[in-house]
Amino acid sequence: MSNLQIDFCGQQLQNPIITASGTFSARGSGSFYDFSRLGAVTSKGVAIDPWPGNPTPRVAETRSGMLNSIGLENPGAVRFIAEELPVIKNGIGGSGTKIIANLAGRTIEQYVEVARLLDAADVDMLELNISCPNVKEGGVAFGTSPQVAAKVTEEVRRVVAKPLIVKLSPNVTDICEIAKAVEAAGADAISMINTLTGMRIDVKNRRHILANKVGGLSGPAVLPVAIRMVYQVSGAVKIPILGMGGVMTGEDAAEFLMVGASAVAVGTAALVDPTAPVRILDELSDFMDKHGFADIQAIKEVRHGL
């Protein structure tokens, strides 16, 4: 039996499988599987005030992928802490599963304010979302310029004590440049990739499928893009990477670890199969047993030969 434990940003995780932001709800996901088996769970993006999100329809299917334009709908930090967090804590019990709060904002001040609130709340790590393609202000506007990405990272870093993960957008010319900028600004880790911007047209009705016109593409279609980018960034920065993008199986998770990720998040797969995070965990464990990997570090060492 392989050892799946990892150290991520100085925290001990029982395994490297984590839910990706926006694809986990303690009540909904918890009605299908025991999420206390996971290394960590990530909340939906939480802002300082409630956000209504974009008009519907805001999900669309595409071959081997899906588009979403949710627009970071969330109840605001106060209600998240009062209502959602206790349900997550209850599901986790004494298992040691970590909680990552994903932070959304429209301005640097809002990011700082929500970061301060969540840093004081009962969560283990913070993930700064500077890469959502579906909001007009904030989101990806902060994640496409190295200077602005560094600035927001630095400002948030100043007010938080907990490990700070910065989530990067793939919709940039050179993701390594952004990664290096947030590392220099004090990020403890990088998570990548957020969705790729896309669009679909309903040809019979001659209109956009998404009310927002543009949405973020996720699912197995984006995996090769994510693998390429994690490979590049892991060669450019020293901080750990939480890899994600189209992970559907344990072998996909192993692939991310082999190109330099330290942990792996499962997102769209959980919409396709609600129990995907724990299934992928079991598959990764089987893969390691079958291929003689004693621990996660052994898989990560494959990176040196690639």
């Binding site: 926006g22 909904g28 009605s31 299908f32 999900v59 609600p274």
Partner: protein, 250 residues
């Protein structure tokens, strides 16, 4: 605990134009659906990722009946699955209609919105309720009307069967006793018109809303309905809502 189970198709037949009935043989421990709940059907094609949320039409021990419209590639694919095909299906999801109160029951359905009302009518009949009527509206061709175990009034837009006009127009020229509870499913414009009708007469109305869904279990927050209590998830907080809370402004 919810789960995804493998069911076997026992029947798959076209029952109206671009409408098909699917009967699924289920494992013995499958929970009994509440009227108004839906199930997620997962396609046997790995490139079509998202489940198709389909209303439960009827249920008897181990046999789930769904009636669905062919609206896109996924439902078209399902409509072609043969008897004996294995298909993955979730346990029942969503909240369903509540049927506790007193007063007459009026079930109002438009087009394939009539589908979830059948299990509801059967459940009310099983409770011994005789004060149940169903008002069912269609464009031209009717659907499962003869299966309802209660008094049924039919409206068709073209006048091919029953009242000529839509189902809300039929209600407007019918006698509805004070205290009647209305339970409805149909298109958003129909439910919006019905909501005005109910509000004007002080009738309690529950509506089953439709929205394009992602996960179907409350994780992705793709399908929302605007309400006076803020956005609610159609899949998880609904699909049935108290109509007086729904904001119809779209």
């Amino acid at each position: 605990m919810n789960k995804i189970v493998t069911a076997e198709i026992a029947e798959n037949s076209e029952i109206a134009k671009e409408m098909f009935r699917l009967r699924l043989k289920l494992p013995g421990d499958y929970p009994r659906p509440k009227p108004g709940q839906f199930v997620n059907l997962y396609l046997n094609d790995a490139s079509l990722l998202l489940p198709r949320p389909i209303s439960v039409c009827d249920y008897e021990q181990g046999l789930l009946t769904l009636v669905c419209a062919v609206v896109g590639k996924g439902t078209e694919m399902i409509s072609g699955y043969g008897v004996g095909t294995k298909i993955r299906v979730s346990t029942p999801l969503g909240n369903g209609f509540s049927t506790g109160g007193s007063g007459h029951y009026l079930l109002v359905g438009g087009s394939f919105g009539v589908v979830p009302l059948l299990l509801l009518a059967k459940e009310l009949a099983a409770q011994g309720r005789t004060d149940v009527r169903a008002f069912l509206g269609f464009y031209d061709e009717t659907l499962i009307v003869e299966e309802f175990p209660c008094v049924v009034e039919v409206a068709t837009d073209v006048g091919s069967c029953g009242f000529k006009g839509n189902v809300v127009e039929l209600l407007e020229c019918s006698e509805i006793p004070v205290g009647t509870q209305i339970l409805a499913c149909g298109s958003k414009p129909m439910l919006c018109a019905l909501s005005k009708f109910a509000a004007e007469r002080g009738l309690y109305l529950q509506v089953s809303m439709e929205e394009r869904m992602g996960c179907g279990y409350g994780a992705c927050v793709g399908c929302v309905c605007k309400t006076t209590k803020g956005n609610r998830k159609v899949c998880d907080d609904g699909p049935v809502f108290d109509a007086s809370e729904v904001i119809w402004d779209e």
